[in-house]
Amino acid sequence: MNIFVIFRIAFRALARNKMRSALTMLGVVIGVAAVIAMVSIGQGAQASVQAQIASVGTNLLFVGAGSQNVGGVRSGTGATNSNTLTVDDIEAIRREIPSVAMASPTVNTRAQLVFGNQNWNTSVQGVNEQFPQIRKWVVQSGEFFTEADVRTAARVIVLGATVAENLFPGTDPVGQMVRVRELPFRVIGVMARRGQDAQGRDQDDNAMAPFTTVQKKLLAITYVQFAHVSAISPAATYTAQDQITDLLRQRHKLAPNQENDFFVRNLTDVAEAADETNRIMTYLLGSIAGVSLLVGGIGIMNIMLVSVTERTREIGIRMAVGARSSAVRTQFLIESIVLSLTGGSIGIMFGIAISLLIPKMLGWPTLISFIAIVGSVIFSAAVGIFFGYYPARKAAGLDPIDALRYE
């Protein structure tokens, strides 16, 4: 018995009852569309969080001066007066650890910036020339300071976009002189706007100068408060974290029983936590939608069972004219597979359409998942086979005499 012939028989049988076939398919249509739309929303959220994290720099490690225990009094971490971290430490990290690509010593202070009759209080960060690369931040106009500026502790400054707007409304700040704590600094560049960070802080309300300049001219210190470190890859951040810890403990001559007088934070942890949350959300949305697909499958079984009872006579006729049980079983099985696969295909189209409409109508990002599409095709075929098998077996098991007599 040719399988194509049975396909034809099944198609004709379905076409004979279009309304019922359409309603049966509806369950699978909705199920598949829901799975695709939900997974798209989940993946869209995941992708947008990942993009945000990537913009911060997924390779980023944050090294800070830690707490000190001076006669039983412990200072907090990152305190301005914490002097455990030196420029040499940061240099050593950069030089000696292979998984570290770049490192910038960092010192922070708040200062009043004055230009003409405008003034603005902001955070002045002392960093080195690698800072824009580490933070994946580009200069909008002008340029960033160079290694020579850092070496010579030049009085140059690069402004964040917010500072530039407030101090230089309507004029180009590049080349102008601003005063920072009464010291003149030449503005050599303005950074591109970054917007808010995850906590809603304005990332553009700051200014950057060579850390040497900030250390000597503004803070009068020799140590550094922090360091921005960039690992060679996101995966290398864990190795880098361990190696930095080992190196600094060694350099600070800490005994095994002494706690770290510094900290190393891995921003990949944060990224992964966010990623994990989204992944769980995607699974959750997907599985809720999957339940509706399952319900759709049960709907198919329901209709197929009704159909077998209703078409008992037809089955009897087919058997009387010579259909083998296997042909009847295959026919009903194919009918349910055709229902679920056709429903699945329509569902895919709806799912994609919904995924494309959601960003426009609700403003949520979506990402159409190829795996979700392939998965729902396979799943809907499986639903057809699984939920079609029992009714098909029931049909094939009928006795032709009884089936012909059935009213």
């Binding site: 018995m1 040719n2 012939v5 034809r8 028989i9 004709r12 004979r16 009852n17 006579r313 037809e314 009897g316 006729i317 087919r318 058997m319 009387a320 004219v321 010579g322 259909a323 083998r324 049980s325 296997s326 042909a327 032709p400 005499i401 012909l404």
Partner: protein
Amino acid sequence: MQLVAETDAKIIESDAEKKSRTSNERALNEAVIKLDHIHKIYKMGDIEVHALRGISLTIHQGEFVAVMGVSGSGKSTMMNIIGCLDQPTRGTYILDDRDVSKLSKDDRADIRNQKIGFVFQGFNLLSRTSAIENVEMPMLYAGIVAAERRRRAQEALESVGLAGRETNHPNQLSGGQQQRVAIARALVNHPTIILADEPTGALDSRTSVEVMEIFQRLNRERGLTLLIVTHEHDIAEYAKRVIIFRDGKIRSDEPVLHQRDAAEELKTLPVLDDDDDDD
């Protein structure tokens, strides 16, 4: 062909059992069905119902047999066994020189497909399916290619006078026309025998005669072997031989002395309602 058939009919009328073996070697006179001491016992819980009590029967190629009997007499059970829809509890059934009394379900399906054409009282056409597709259905299970299916279905519909009605669905056809579609379906795989279970039971008298005319014509012109079950004596008289069942046994098996001719009767019957206008 026609001449031979008529001669055979006479032979069968005189003495079917003996002459069939001795007269000649022609296929037209060969036994197509041989039932030998067929018993059928149904078990309904603890009660055993003896539906057939040792039926022996031979039907030859080209015979037209009417089977009669009250309900419960065993005639339906025998028809089911002859139609390979059911199996005897005891006894042998030889169809076309093959013992089919102990075949598997699938083998019986194939036998039904190849050797037996069914015509039912309630027509049993697939609804919402065109006449030609209904006729094609047995060929689907015989694995015949599409073009050949179409050609043979067309031919079968023409032979029952339904040319031009191919695309009509059963609900667009009158009862007589539906029964003719069913006959076309029974013919289409060139079966050894056609089994008709009260084929006129749901038809008015003129349409009944029309259907019997088709059966008589197929029997006469093609030498087709026919076995029909009927309650009505006047329908049985269109056949050549009448077998009457009672209590699971054959009570009488006699030739019809004056076979009615449906074609002749149709000429004199008034046309009351043209069933072509039913749709």
